[in-house]
């Protein structure tokens, strides 16, 4: 304990920076040694690509090297915003995101609330075990199943047909893509997504419910006046995080499911970046610019949503 006191004193006296730096390095030598691989990882694999963003402002060719190439300023951004794809991509991205926030985001909340009302813990456990399962199945398998189920002779198509819908290959028709995308998202994620809300529900003070009952509240009133306010901070945090991803729709699923006949509704910014940058052609600079546009909008939305939430609800990410 003695040397700890001495350390405090050295801070108070404010020795010269060099001495303090040396003290810090000696004292925490092993922490710095441990930090080296972590810092290197973040520098190389996270901040490295951020430096690579410069190629959005350059005419990068494989032969020119990463730091060569001629500066072209905002040419690729202008090219994107004036291209025929710009409107379609932003519209598709925003629509899929918007439906996601509107339908797929509340689904786990509603599910958690209903699950919370289930009596019998064994039944409840079984429901949880079953509904978490699809979360762990690989996207490739899920999409393989979607392809099969929604094909002309697929099982889902059969059900839709029995209910009066047409018997067609639903993934081949652009007007169904968003619905399939969102519906299967809910199917795969509703159980897993509810965990975080169930945890928040478990954290609500039981005495609040007892007090509400004394005041004459039934189950509906209890949910309205105790449960929902108890969930609100969690919902807000999740919503802020979700808004920070509005411009990035899960491209892996899109790339697995779309085809040229559904590009009209299915092609989003990130799938376009992949296709034009790494898939069919190799327009590195152009697609980096498009990707940067997407990241910046996301960041701005996240910061904005966080600021709004902090102002009005006292809940914020940071």
């Amino acid at each position: 304990m003695l040397h700890k006191k001495a350390a405090v004193q050295t801070v108070e006296v404010k020795k010269p920076l060099r001495v303090r730096l040396k003290n810090e390095l000696v004292q925490n030598k092993y922490i710095y040694i441990l930090a080296i691989p972590v810092i290197l990882y973040y520098l190389i694999f996270c901040y490295g690509p951020m430096c690579g963003i410069v190629i959005a402002f350059k005419q990068y060719t494989p032969s020119s090297g990463l730091f060569g190439g001629e500066w072209v300023g905002l040419r690729y951004f202008k090219e994107f915003f004036s291209s025929m794809y710009c409107y379609r991509l932003i519209r598709n991205t925003l629509l899929i995101s918007f439906y996601g926030v509107l339908i797929a985001f509340p689904a786990p909340i509603v599910f958690a609330l209903l699950l919370n009302e289930v009596q019998g813990s064994k039944f409840k456990k079984t429901i949880q075990t079953v509904t978490y399962l699809p979360h762990f199945i690989s996207l490739v398998v899920i999409c393989g199943m979607i392809m099969d189920f929604f094909s002309t002779n697929g099982i889902v198509t059969k059900v839709i047909h029995a209910l009066g819908g047409p018997q067609v290959n639903y993934l081949g028709d652009a007007k169904y893509f968003r619905t399939i995308y969102i519906a299967t998202d809910i199917w795969q994620g509703v159980g897993w997504g509810s965990i975080i809300y169930l945890a928040a529900l478990a954290g609500i003070d039981q005495e609040l419910y007892e007090a509400a009952v004394i005041d004459g509240a039934g189950r509906w009133k209890q949910m309205l006046h105790v449960t929902l306010p108890g969930l609100a901070p969690t919902i807000i945090i999740m919503l802020i995080m979700r808004i920070g991803q509005v411009m990035s729709v899960g491209y892996e699923k899109i790339i697995l499911l779309y085809n040229p006949s559904t590009y009209e509704t299915a092609d989003v910014i990130s799938s376009f970046v992949y296709r034009r940058g790494l898939g069919n052609s190799f327009e590195y600079s152009y697609t980096t610019a498009v990707g940067l546009f997407q990241s910046v909008v996301n960041l701005v939305l996240l910061v904005g949503a966080n600021a709004v939430s902090r102002k009005f609800t006292d809940t914020s990410l940071y």
Partner: protein
């Protein structure tokens, strides 16, 4: 929740129970359907299959073809290597990072934390990331391209840090007096005390590697190094079952190709389906730890 037995409450309970049963059926039925299709006679499941509540005929032929397929076997091996090595790197790097950020007297802790959390909300994007791994680091066509760029998930790191901070200081203080340095403290005190969260992380990362395909598609050129999901994608989504059906006639080829798809799904998903019930509680625990304070 305090419940009073009212008439309307009972009606709600009935509907709620029915809804939950519906959820169970709608979640499990697709898997059941795939299983019954995979063990059906391939000539009988062409065209209108119906609900497939029972297999139509019985044949393990599709499974035999899948198990004989050299691509599946070699990709299974690649995926196992990827899961083991990748997860080891993940857990080690994440533990070290979380430990460093959980130290109290450490001058650059705050700066480091901010710089690390920033990467959760902003990244260089797909193309610069690809160019870095492929053209700068020359990791193309190696499994390292699938392991190193995602070595640390910042979200998991924050969960783990929260966990480490909760460990009482007194334990390491006494170890320090005995002359232990931080490296010893991490491996001899902190990690043994954190086995539940280490299990959760191992499972999160492990399943992540098992299921990943996108980076493999970008970086792996050599078919012998394809992980399972990439082979799956060819079979399920790009419709190439030819390699497996060999010299059968084209009609038979098409028929058996359909069954092969279903059998492949089962073969690729079985490990997860078998392990899942046992590890499920750890996953939930992991999510709860993260939910406490991110």
């Amino acid at each position: 929740m305090v419940t009073k037995r009212t008439w309307s409450g009972k009606v709600f309970d009935i509907f709620n129970t029915l809804f939950m049963l519906f959820m169970i059926v709608i979640t499990l039925y697709p898997f059941y359907y795939v299983i019954t299709c995979s063990i059906s006679d391939s000539n009988m499941i062409i065209g209108d299959k119906g609900l497939m509540l029972l297999p139509k005929g019985f044949s393990m032929g599709a499974y035999q073809m899948v198990m004989r397929n050299p691509n599946i076997l070699s990709s299974y091996r690649v995926t196992l290597i990827l899961v083991v090595v990748g997860t080891l790197v993940n857990v080690l790097m994440t533990s070290i990072g979380a430990f460093v950020l959980s130290r109290k007297r450490f001058a650059i802790k705050k700066t480091l934390t901010i710089l690390i959390i920033f990467t959760m909300y902003f990244s260089g994007g797909m193309i610069p990331g690809y160019l870095l791994t492929y053209k700068v680091l020359h990791l193309g066509n190696t499994l390292w391209a699938l392991i190193l760029p995602g070595a640390i998930s910042t979200y998991n790191l924050i969960i783990m840090r929260t966990n480490f901070i909760a460990i009482p200081d007194s334990l390491e203080e006494s170890a320090k007096i005995d002359g232990a340095n931080e490296i010893v403290i991490l491996f001899k005190i902190i990690l043994p005390l954190s086995l539940p969260i280490l299990a959760v992380m191992t499972l999160f990362y492990g399943v992540g590697h098992w299921n990943s395909w996108f980076n493999a598609m970008l970086f792996i050129r050599d078919r012998a190094k394809y992980p399972l999901q990439l082979i799956l994608r060819e079979i399920l989504l790009l419709n190439s079952t030819d390699a497996m059906t060999g010299d059968a006639s084209s009609v038979d080829k098409y028929n058996i190709g359909e069954s092969i798809k279903y059998a492949t799904i089962i073969v690729a998903t079985l490990p997860i389906l078998v392990v899942y019930p046992f590890i499920q509680k750890y996953f939930v625990k992991g999510m709860l730890i993260g939910a406490v304070k991110g």
